[in-house]
Subunit: 363 residues, 2 copies
């Protein structure tokens, strides 16, 4: 059974880090009978340059058919002035929406070897292991109306709409509860119900679902502003955090920055299963396209490689292979290899390719 993997490397350091992922996939083909067929397509600014849109219909169709999509990163100053509809992010957002990737899993792990790289005190972040479950296809990202209108009197009006329905909330909460069961069995549901009606609905629906199906999981609720503070004050209080698209965007970025190693963090965006049991999935590093170092061979490929480990675990259900790959990454770090973003005194500084080489060797 051939597995189809679509790589959309995107912009900036995307192609460099995805190059290493291809090599890792190759290793699993050669040594673990993984049998993956890789295709490459454009997304983001590079696609806009080639086709005038941030992702083509053909690529979206290919992504839907693929077993897993591996995305690098999109965007960069080069496309700062393209029309809103053509901006690099539009490609990413369309993939998320059209593939119905409603569940974004963002682990924030503090790697023991890197605990000192955090701007937070070591004791605050050492051993940190949070899973942020972010709703990814709803909320203010996609709600309508979403427009700028001219009011005629020299004034314009910009509108975005935050919308959630019962079923959208239930399905993401279900993912969070299921994950919690395999972890520390605790879910923190985060909204701003003291100000937002969508937050009131979120709170009520999560509570109801909990009572119906997950009362064995510990559920608590927190306001989003407080959660942002608590992530800074004492992040280890959290196990699984479930929240909406916009709060998830901000809170997961805070959480990843706590670890001091953004270049290390993977993510998975998972879709609903269709009638045949197939679910779309996209895996990508949490970091961006880092245009400042693009093309220099300095980028850290680990976040992308660990994203592929998530693909092994969640899409291909090859947990043992995922463990293997994660252990290889641990070993390389323990051996003292570091890309520039995670460089520490006394360690060996390497580039993208050398890091890839080392991980392949460790495998």
């Amino acid at each position: 059974m051939t597995r189809n993997i679509l790589i959309v490397a995107g912009d900036g350091i995307g192609p460099e880090v995805m190059g290493e992922v291809e090599r890792v996939i190759g290793w699993f083909n050669d040594n673990r009978k993984f049998d993956a067929k890789i295709e490459n397509e454009l997304v983001g600014g590079c696609c806009y340059d080639a086709h005038g849109v941030a992702v083509t219909d053909e690529t979206v169709e290919k992504a839907k058919r693929a077993d897993a999509v591996m995305l690098g990163a999109v965007g960069g100053p080069k496309w700062d002035n393209v029309p809103y509809e053509g901006r690099p992010e539009a490609g990413l957002l369309r993939l998320r929406k059209d593939l119905e990737l409603f569940a974004n899993l963002r682990p924030a792990l503090c790697f023991a070897a890197l605990a000192d790289a955090s701007s937070l005190k070591r004791e605050i972040v050492e051993g940190l292991d949070i899973m942020i479950v972010r709703e990814l296809t709803g909320g203010v990202y996609f709600g309508e109306p979403k427009e700028i209108t001219d009011l005629g009197n020299g004034e314009r009006r910009g509108v975005d709409t935050q919308v959630y329905t019962t079923s959208e909330i239930r399905r993401i909460a279900e993912v969070a509860f299921d994950l919690a069961k395999k972890r520390d069995n605790r879910v923190m549901s985060v909204e701003k119900r003291n100000v937002m009606k969508s937050g009131v609905l979120w709170y009520e629906e999560v509570k109801t679902l909990h009572g119906e199906k997950f009362s064995d999981v510990k559920l608590e609720h927190m306001l989003a502003d407080n959660c942002a503070m608590q992530l800074v004050r004492n992040p280890k209080q959290f196990d699984v955090i479930v929240t909406d698209n916009l709060f998830g965007d901000v809170l997961s970025d805070i959480a990843s920055m706590l670890t001091g190693s953004l270049g290390m963090l993977p993510s998975a965006s998972l879709g609903a299963k269709d009638a045949s049991g197939k679910a779309c999935a996209m895996y990508e590093p949490v970091h961006g396209s880092a245009p400042d170092i693009a093309g220099t061979g300095a980028a850290n490929p680990i976040a992308s490689i660990l994203s592929f480990a998530m693909a092994l675990r969640y899409t291909f259900e090859l947990g043992a292979d995922a463990d293997l790959l994660e252990k290889a990454v641990d070993k390389v770090l323990a051996d003292g290899l570091r890309t520039g973003d995670i460089m520490q005194p006394g360690m060996k500084k390497v580039g993208t390719k050398e890091m890839g080489d080392a991980i392949l060797a460790a495998l």
Copy 2:
């Protein structure tokens, strides 16, 4: 000329910390010819208990007529199940809206004596001095529709609307530029224009205003998720941050938590000047109602006292008096007095009243 100050102490520790503010105002009356007349009214849960609403029309009218409103804090678990319209926060939000307090100034200052209290490394936060300028009467807090509707099929739909107009954006940006001129002359405008149309409008209008009137101030733009990260990574890169109501809520809470001393941070909410030149203003601590320690006499009154210093500076234009009060607070900290929230080894632990006594003595 008598100055009218309305104190709405609110819930939890509100009355305790406001008690100390009253004493400080008394000192300025007695020693600096401040000539303030104080009235007290209810807001929040205590008002709901007394009147079935979180703020009464009479209090709103009094607040409009007052030269300055001093607010303690609102909310607590006691009111978790009151109807949405009657929840404690509704009183605060109505005051903000009806008094047109569009400009929320939230300084995030790291007090030298407390730099070690932060969860961040000392070198990251020592000397931190950020001013967050948050739009306070627009955005998703007040936009319509804002509702939960029953879709009939067992599903409900929650909607909130994020709206900004040209003039709303310009007037808050103007406040930020003016403040920057008195500081390090740098403004960071924060939105999420890669996803939100209101963010696109925000970006464009701030840029236009800058070109028209403030080109001598350094202006940069940052996406909100990145700003949250940068606040954790390297907060000292910022001088003035200007952003919308919801991002401002989250980002200012992050910024205040960086300082390690939430109990120390004041805020000002300023209105537009009317035809007679009068502007409404409300001053409040950044911390909440802390129901867990309410009534124990342990609360830190400094944030509220420093909020009164902001009133002296911004409403009464008594900069020298504001300096006097701020210096008194510095002295008390230097003398080693600490409430429980900022307690450190070797310091003297005091309660709300003793802290107030010490500040009065230092004055």
